[in-house]
């Protein structure tokens, strides 16, 4: 059983279905798979295909340096070796990659990558990858879909996973699914924040469900801010715009990155670029607009030809949402939440440590991204580790007997039914879902944003704790069963509050600055104390923080200078 129909979930489903045609594979997704947020990825996917100038060690080193040495190097080494195979499979399945004149898949430059190794399909790789995987999945008769089913909990019996509970959104009825193995692949949780590139559906469901099932969340303090979002909407303008030669300018028309990442300039990693923009804003060298401060992304020197051929979606988005033609005008941009490096702890094969439970994609933390992910590694990550998780789950399922719907599973399902219909849906006197959600988003944006310190994080921990209490009385206005998006939103918010709390507590515990985690009170990286993963466990009260070692194979930590 696969929870989530985006890149990682679909790849897991195909891998499991291919491995054993007799296996019944179910994809349970709260949206039709082609609506999954993978669809919004733009720039490309990284893999070493050009061996004349590129190699696995270089891709691994770039990724590890990008991660500020928090990535597990065994995971990265595995990833870079699998990445080309997975990319070629995707090509064989029909992905319309952009091509060189000789018919090979084209590659472009990307932030933090020292050579051109990012495969692309104009600037819509996520859309094409998702539809290619989804359409390919349709050919497997042993893949069964449950579209618009919202998974609410993982059923755990006697230390192993027996299935999940899920609401059929259309009918509003809760059902229990028994499964020998479960892969969760529900993506990120950007909607915890106010200003994010993430779609409405990115609410950390799988992270929270795994956490509640006793699996730790790892590196949750590592939240990626992307440097180029449209200021009014949070719409992402791809890094490929800079990969193709775009410049970032402050209000003096200066390419300010020369002060921060002189050797990489616009192709520096996202964490450093986002902070550089914040410094420009703080020091008064940014523009002021109705939606706050911003800088300029200048593509005008690229010419209409390049923009139309390689960045058509950037042009479409700028024109449609800002009325700006990037061929002739600069695009206003500012940083915003984009991606979670952290997530459900797994090993290299997507196994979470809870028998029967696997995880992959943005919601998982293998960890190959450490403290900062390089652009274009995430889609390939979904394919590589989605396939691993699917195979791992299929192999595990083959060894297992069928779970029984007896106790305690039946009891757990009944308890879940009571929680949803008797408590969440029936609550009559309390606050609106939207009020609590807005306060959570504001809290995270203000106190757990690009810069953090002890004070702000302690405040955030307290505020989130209060919001969790208030959530117990929140009111779902829509009392119907059929297609109740208000009820789904309440359950999502309940998940988000748990995830938000783990982020705030982990950020408080990491008293150093590393990658995306920038503590103004501890501005330096501290390898002696913090070259380790922080893992968060759920308890009856506040989250409990523990540590795990970082796997270092061949690359000793060094100063991260670009």
């Amino acid at each position: 059983m696969i929870i989530g129909g985006g890149a990682a979930g679909l790849r897991a489903a195909i891998a499991a279905a291919e491995l054993d045609p007799k296996l019944d594979v179910a994809i349970v997704s709260k949206v039709y798979p082609m609506r999954s947020h993978t669809v919004s990825a733009e720039g490309g996917m990284a893999a070493v295909l050009r061996t004349d100038y590129d190699n696995f060690d270089l891709h691994a080193y770039d990724t590890i340096k990008g991660s500020d040495f928090l990535a597990d190097q065994d995971a990265v080494e595995f990833f870079v070796k699998e990445a080309p195979k997975e990319s070629i499979r995707l090509e064989h399945w029909g992905c319309p990659f952009s091509r060189d004149p000789d018919g090979r898949i084209s590659v472009r430059a990307f932030g933090g990558m020292s050579v051109k190794r990012t495969l692309f399909a104009t600037d819509k790789i996520g859309f094409h990858l998702l539809h290619t995987l989804f359409q390919t999945s349709l050919k497997f008769e042993n893949i069964h879909r449950y579209d618009e089913w919202f998974t609410t909990s993982i059923l755990v019996d006697n230390g192993r996973v027996d299935g999940v509970t899920a609401i059929d959104i259309r009918s509003g009825e809760l059902a229990s699914f028994l499964a020998k193995a479960v892969v969760i692949a529900t993506g990120g949780c950007g909607r915890i924040y106010q200003f994010t590139t993430n779609g409405w559906i990115k609410t950390g469901d799988g992270m929270a469900m795994a956490y509640r099932a006793g699996v730790p969340l790892k590196d949750m303090e590592m939240v990626q801010y992307h440097p180029t979002l449209l200021p009014n909407t949070g719409i992402l303008i791809t890094e490929a715009a800079r990969g193709e030669g775009g410049h970032l300018l402050n209000k003096d028309g200066e390419r300010f990155l020369k002060k921060y990442v002189p050797n990489k300039m616009e192709l520096g990693p996202r964490d450093i670029l986002s902070r550089a923009e914040m410094t420009e804003i703080k020091e008064g060298r940014a523009f002021e607009g109705p939606y706050g401060s911003y800088v300029h992304l200048d593509l005008t020197h690229l010419g209409a030809g390049t923009i139309e051929a390689k960045l058509p979606f950037v042009k479409e988005l700028a024109e449609r949402y800002l009325g700006i033609d990037p061929v002739h005008e600069m695009i206003p941009v500012r940083p915003g939440q984009h991606y979670m490096m952290g997530g459900v702890h797994t090993d290299i094969h997507g196994y979470t440590g809870l028998p029967g439970l696997y995880a992959a994609g943005e919601m998982a933390c293998v960890s190959m991204n450490g403290a900062n992910r390089l652009g274009s590694n995430s889609l390939t990550e979904c394919l590589v580790f989605g396939a691993e998780a699917g195979i791992g789950a299929a192999q595990y399922a083959a060894r297992q007997g069928s779970p029984n719907f007896g106790n305690p599973v039946q009891g757990l399902a009944l308890e879940e039914e009571k929680r949803i219909y008797d408590r969440v849906l029936k609550s009559e006197r309390g606050e609106k879902i939207s009020t609590i959600r807005a306060e959570m988003q504001k809290t995270m944006e203000e106190h757990v944003g690009i810069y953090r310190d002890e004070n702000s994080l302690k405040q955030a921990c307290g505020l989130i704790g209060d919001l969790k209490q208030r959530m117990k009385n929140a009111v779902v206005e829509d009392k119907d069963r059929v297609y109740n998006t208000d009820l789904v939103s309440a359950l999502e918010l309940d998940f988000m509050l748990d995830v938000a709390e783990t982020i705030a507590y982990a950020a408080l515990a990491r008293k150093e600055s590393r990658g995306a985690h920038a503590r103004t009170d501890y501005p330096k990286r501290d390898d002696a104390q913090f070259l380790k993963h922080l893992v968060v466990y759920e308890t009856e009260t506040v989250p409990r923080i523990d540590t795990m070692p970082v796997s270092i194979t061949r690359w000793k930590p060094e100063a991260r200078v670009y």
Partner: protein
């Protein structure tokens, strides 16, 4: 920024309560850069938590948020409120679909049709990944590229009068996607797909009204795909008459 007030008139249909759909009006303050979807979200968060619609990416690519806006099928995330200044903005569910609740329509029919056209690369034997990619020239890519841009938003089905009369008609998006694979140089499935798109409810049902291509938010031209498929079909039929082994 200055704010105006828009009146949004939304179709409500709640199968557990109401016998029939009805309109409900909401007043929404808006700025110049706000879209119809923003107005729906404003209503849901502040005025009426029961209003029901689909959405996710709010950047025109996930395909969830289609509705009839002022009578025309559109993505609500790409329809600006200021374009309707001074008028009540009617937001209704996409036509030609049964309604589950408010603006949420039933997509089952398309999901079945999508499988019918076999939207995957058909090849006798897939090469192992170690042998590298299948080469494809820019010209070969160009032949199917636009038809691979369909986001399955259903606007074309809502606009298609033929689909309105005959729901068995394969319809614009499914035919465009079938053509996308037929024209892909990596695919060997023409013999399998041809009968599907040419059978009774396939391309020959289309009367070339062309509304599908007008409403497509992604610049896909399903009508062109339909015409090209018709021509390919006619040529093949002719070849099979005059040449041995169908001219293959």
């Amino acid at each position: 920024m200055s704010q105006d007030i828009a009146t949004i008139r939304v179709t409500r249909y709640r199968p557990e309560k109401d016998g029939k759909p009805f309109f409900q009006d909401y007043k929404v303050p808006y700025r110049k850069d706000m879209v119809v979807l923003d107005a729906l979200n404003y209503i849901k968060a502040n005025l009426d938590g029961t209003l029901t619609y689909r959405w996710s990416c709010r950047m025109g690519v996930c395909g969830s948020c289609g509705a009839n806006v002022d009578g025309v099928p559109k993505l609500t995330c790409a329809s600006f409120l200021h374009e309707f200044k001074g008028r009540t903005i009617k937001v209704e569910p996409l036509t030609h679909f049964s309604v589950i609740k408010d603006l949420v329509v039933n997509m089952d029919d398309f999901m079945h049709k999508l499988v019918e056209i076999k939207p995957w690369i058909i090849k006798e034997k897939e090469s192992p990944p170690e042998e590298g990619e299948y080469r494809q020239s820019a010209e070969e890519l160009e032949r199917y590229a636009q038809f691979s841009s369909c986001i399955n938003c259903m606007l074309c089905y809502s606009a298609c009068p033929v689909y309105g009369l005959n729901e068995k008609f394969l319809g614009p998006a499914a035919i465009a996607l079938a053509y996308r694979y037929i024209e892909d140089s990596r695919d060997e499935g023409k013999d399998v797909r041809f009968p599907i798109v040419h059978e009774l409810e396939g391309v020959w049902e289309c009367t070339l009204v062309g509304e599908c291509s007008v409403v497509c938010p992604k610049g896909v031209d399903p009508m062109l795909a339909i015409q090209k498929t018709k021509i390919l079909g006619a040529t093949n039929a002719l070849k099979s008459l005059v040449m041995p082994r169908g001219g293959k």
